[in-house]
């Protein structure tokens, strides 16, 4: 078995037993990155940096003073500021921006011994569901359509580079961010595990802000247990983020393997939307059967305000984005296009050249939604609806312990198929945005390939700060689904 096919848990055991070194483990991934450069997963590769870190890990393995993630090669979504390493947010406006500081989440991961292979591609400023809005070009999913082998599939987005890299074995785990589904949807489309924790679990400090009240960091890996282990280190209170929770972080790996007997699983009526592909419904039903077989009880629930979730989300998200992105003005850092003229000319030229069409669209929509005369009709109403959506969940959790839904309305689609239709593109978030609006944790687990060879998964939604139940139930589904497909080896791996 190739070193890149190991789980994180397996790699840590191998390192401890000195079956291979951290440098070897990292080098194997660096080689894989070179081999699959065409997937365009990484915006910036930091092989040298990873090997230096790995050498330090090896010293610790030699001395016996090892750290919890010692030597594990990770990819970092290029929205996390990394000290001394270019951080672009896949935007021209920050094309050459090198932070002098390290985000809280990445500094915690690196402090636990993880290494940094590079900065992963994403939709520009995390705005997108297909990783096609990146200034550095789209990411290509490592998976292939059986019927159209020449068609390139999207990895999902916005954390498309992260998901594709983990699926393609170009790193063992990766950071993501999830504002409306940006971890859970690409995880589903690439056949891996992705966790968006409760809002406030992870510090947002040092992560480029998109929509602050919705943004949350999270992790990708190929197993539920690996994801739980990474989340142990990604989470935690941070005084530098006023919205981060002081709640203690449990050892999430302890939840993996625990029985789910007696747990109540909510199945929301409103998620059975019209036009949902048969394969998605079928996968959902399979999930229900698996959970039943593990002793869980199925409960029908109602989340009546679900139909308002997308419009609500697409008011709040661009409103906050329009304000958060105001700082990219060409004055202090980043791109500046100054062709004479006054300050406003410089702003307009810089921002027109620096931002791509989707970013510009959101800034325009958000600015409009916050404008005098429209604020009450849009923003205030959206905030009210947001509260109703949260109340839906609170009511549902009186009857169930977690909720099972599809993570996305379809398997991966082809590159270019939806990019010219923003409404169609936004619909990809239909099952995920409610979770961000309510600030709840969500977990995607891969379950199978569809008849065309494209991955499918399931989404688990938990109570506020109850990631543990999600890891517990996610591991149960993982066991039942026994998903072993490998993008480069077929089902045989």
């Amino acid at each position: 078995m190739s070193l890149t096919d190991l789980t994180i848990k397996g790699a840590l055991e191998g390192l401890k037993k000195k079956e291979f070194t951290a440098v070897e483990l990292n080098q194997a991934h660096i080689d894989a990155m070179a081999k699959h450069k065409d997937l365009n997963c990484y915006i910036t590769e930091t092989a040298g940096h990873a090997l230096t870190q790995a050498a330090e890990s090896d010293k610790r393995y030699a001395s016996g003073n090892t750290l919890k993630l010692d030597g594990i090669p990770l990819g970092i979504k290029d929205i996390y500021c990394t000290k001394g390493i270019r951080t672009t947010v896949a935007s021209r406006i920050l094309e050459n921006f090198v932070p002098t500081y390290e985000s809280t989440v990445t500094s915690q991961l690196f402090a636990a011994g993880a290494t940094c292979l590079g900065k992963l591609n994403l939709d520009e400023f995390a705005m997108g569901c297909s990783n096609e809005t990146s200034y550095f070009g789209n990411v290509i999913s490592p998976w292939k359509s059986k019927s159209e082998p020449n068609k390139q599939l999207v990895p999902g987005g916005s954390s498309g580079g992260s998901a594709a890299a983990v699926a393609a074995r170009l790193c063992m785990g990766a950071t993501g961010t999830d504002t409306g589904g940006s971890i859970r949807q690409p995880a589903a489309l690439t056949g891996i595990v992705g966790m968006k924790p409760t809002y406030g679990r992870c510090s947002r400090w040092g992560i480029v802000a998109f929509a602050s009240s919705l943004d949350q960091a999270g992790m990708f890996a190929r197993t539920v247990e690996d994801t739980a282990l990474l989340m142990n280190h990604a989470c935690g209170h941070d005084e530098k983020d006023s919205t981060s929770s002081p709640r203690e972080v449990p050892d999430f790996t302890q939840s993996v393997g625990q029985s789910i007997k007696g747990l109540k699983v909510g199945i929301p009526d409103e998620y059975r939307i019209d036009g949902l592909p048969e394969e998605i419904t079928a996968e959902w039903d399979k999930g229900i059967e698996w959970l039943k077989s593990e002793g869980a009880e199925i409960v029908r629930i109602s989340l009546p305000h679900t139909k308002y979730a997308l419009p609500t989300y697409y008011i709040i998200n661009p409103a906050e984005a329009s304000s958060n992105l105001a700082r990219y003005d060409g004055v202090r850092y980043g791109l500046r296009v100054d062709e004479g003229g006054n300050l406003n000319d410089m702003y307009e030229k810089t921002r027109a050249a620096g931002f791509g069409p989707e970013v510009r669209r959101r800034i325009m929509v958000g600015t409009y939604a916050l404008s005098a005369g429209y604020y009450d009709a849009y923003y205030v109403k959206a905030q009210k609806t947001r509260r109703l959506i949260l109340q839906d969940f609170e009511k549902a959790y009186e009857k169930c312990d977690f909720i099972l839904t599809p993570p996305a309305p379809s398997a991966a689609f082809g590159i270019g198929e939806q990019i010219d239709d923003p409404i169609q593109m936004y619909l990809n978030d239909v099952f995920t945005v409610t979770v961000n609006l309510a600030g709840l944790p969500g977990l995607t687990v891969p379950t199978s390939l569809n008849s065309d060879g494209r991955p499918l998964g399931l989404q688990l939604i938990g109570r506020s700060f109850d990631e543990e139940t999600l890891f517990r139930a996610g591991a149960a589904i993982e066991k039942c689904a026994n998903f072993k497909a490998h993008p480069f080896k077929g089902d045989a791996a």
């Binding site: 002098t100 500081y101 040092g206 006023s242 919205t243 105001a326 004055v331 300050l343 404008s371 604020y375």
Partner: protein, 483 residues
């Protein structure tokens, strides 16, 4: 008292409201740990948050909240236990985030009032609409380069209190009195140094005219008015301007105007149509500000005696005139000085010495009270020596002059210079007798009814004694001997 102004078509009344931006006295900024010291080298007091680097988040500085609550309590205002920080969005080179974090719909402090003192001794209450906290912007500097503007972010993110008055003022004098009193309160509380020259207190003037008794007219807002004198001048200028517009049949345009301190005029900056749409919305990076009444009560318990309380106590407890009390409480350390000096002394006499002699001398020397060569204890001792007849008031002035020069204790000076009054009756009698003997003609005239000449004898006696005789004792003896 009528403040109406006469125009060609009748009388007009000014309606004035003031918005004051007061920089909170604090070691660090409102949402970052950067220092706030005035006058540091440009861009040396700037954190990653203040420069709005990607991914940076604001964290509230609790001390600034405490200062705002303290200020609210000092204005007898309602403290809101729930308030919200919002973003005020606009683009400018010295506004790194592209928005200012401010408070809008839910300010930390609500309705309050400030009592102002007018020259004629009357007082009026001016309503305070609200006080809210917000971040300051940086500073744009346009005069350092022919084509470029420079930006200094030292001030970016410093905590400001915006204190908005009701449109309750009716004259430039009232506006000045309001600013004076507000500044005094801020300084007493230690929440803002009130220094308008350094920009730590800035003022915008809202002004409209109306016919007495009628509805408010259209107002203008004048910015950049950075001294109390400028506030008064801008009000006078703007009143004239608006009156001319109205009397010639025109309408005042609602707009923002700028005070030009060189040309002494206001000029249009932007009209209502060009006004920014600030797109306020709650800042998602900050939780709503919540505290309980116990927190407010705890701050309330630490409030110092405020200017008005002090003034009333000085008039009641010490029997001072309203004028004297007002002068003494104008600065907190002046009031402290007075009270220290008045310990065990006649308060009125002490007040006279502080106001007339001490402040006069300091003013002449260009010194602040904190730099006074004469401390309160020493001045108190001097007053005591007048009261216990050790020296006369006249000699006391000489002693005081030496104290100002040398910072010596008055007793030391009196001792060394031998200025003690002569109290030995025999010695006084001797001098009186000599004076009578030396001036037979005057004695004769006095005795024949020219009472006014008595002063001459007193003068002679004082002169002969070098001023050291107690004038009362001299008078008594003279009266007896001349009778």
């Amino acid at each position: 008292m009528s403040n109406l102004i006469k125009g060609n078509t009748g009388e007009w009344e000014m309606v004035i409201g003031l918005e004051v931006h007061a920089q909170v006295t604090a070691q660090s900024k409102l949402f970052s740990g950067a220092a706030t010291e005035f006058g540091a080298e440009p861009n040396t007091q700037v954190s990653l948050v203040d420069a709005a680097m990607p991914g940076m988040l604001p964290v509230i500085n609790e001390y600034c909240i405490e200062q705002a609550v303290r200020t609210g309590l000092g204005m007898n205002a309602k403290i809101n236990l729930h308030s919200v920080f919002e973003r005020k969005n606009y683009f400018y080179a010295d506004l790194p985030q592209g928005y200012q974090i401010s408070q809008y719909l839910h300010p930390v402090v609500g309705l309050g009032e400030i009592e102002i003192d007018m020259e004629d001794g009357s007082t009026r209450k001016i309503g305070v609409t609200r006080l809210h906290l917000e971040q300051d912007a940086g500073k744009s500097i346009h005069d350092q380069h022919p084509t470029k503007s420079f930006v200094d972010l030292n001030r970016s993110g410093c905590a400001l209190m915006e204190i908005v008055s009701e449109p309750d003022m009716r004259s430039p004098e009232e506006a000045a009195a309001y600013l004076n009193k507000l500044r005094m309160i801020l300084r007493y509380l230690g929440t803002c140094d009130g220094n308008m020259e350094e920009g730590s207190m800035r003022c915008d003037v809202n002004l409209s005219l109306r016919r007495p008794g009628e509805e408010y007219g259209t107002r203008t807002e004048t910015k950049n008015v950075n001294s109390i004198r400028a506030v008064m001048m801008s009000i006078e200028y703007e009143t004239q301007r608006q009156m001319e517009v109205l009397e010639s049949g025109g309408q005042v345009v609602q707009e923002t105007r700028l005070w030009d301190p060189n040309k002494l005029e206001t000029r249009s900056m932007r009209s209502k149509e060009d006004a920014h749409d600030y797109r306020y919305f709650p800042c998602p990076d900050l939780l709503p500000l919540e505290f309980d009444q116990a927190y407010v009560d705890k701050i309330k318990a630490t409030l110092p005696e405020l200017p008005d309380q002090k003034k009333h106590r000085f008039t009641q407890e010490f029997g001072l005139s309203l004028y004297d009390a007002s002068v003494l409480i104008a600065e907190q350390n002046r009031a402290f000085y007075f009270e220290e000096a008045a310990k065990g002394n006649d308060p009125k006499l002490t007040a006279n010495w502080v106001i007339n002699e001490l402040l006069g001398a300091l003013n002449k020397a260009g010194l602040d009270l904190s730099e006074s060569p004469v401390n309160a204890k020493q001045l108190g001792q001097l007053v005591a020596r007048i009261s216990d007849n050790t020296i006369s008031g006249k000699i006391a002035k000489d002693v005081f002059a030496i104290m100002v020069e040398t910072s010596q204790d008055p007793d030391t000076i009196i001792e060394e210079k031998g200025l003690k009054q002569v109290t030995d009756t025999g010695a006084i009698e001797k001098i009186v007798d000599e004076v009578i003997a030396e001036n037979p003609k005057m004695v004769e005239e006095y005795r024949s009814g020219k009472d006014k000449l008595f002063g001459f004898f007193v003068g002679q006696v004082m002169k002969k004694s070098g001023g050291k005789i107690n004038p009362a004792a001299a008078n008594e003896l003279l009266k007896k001997k001349l009778a």
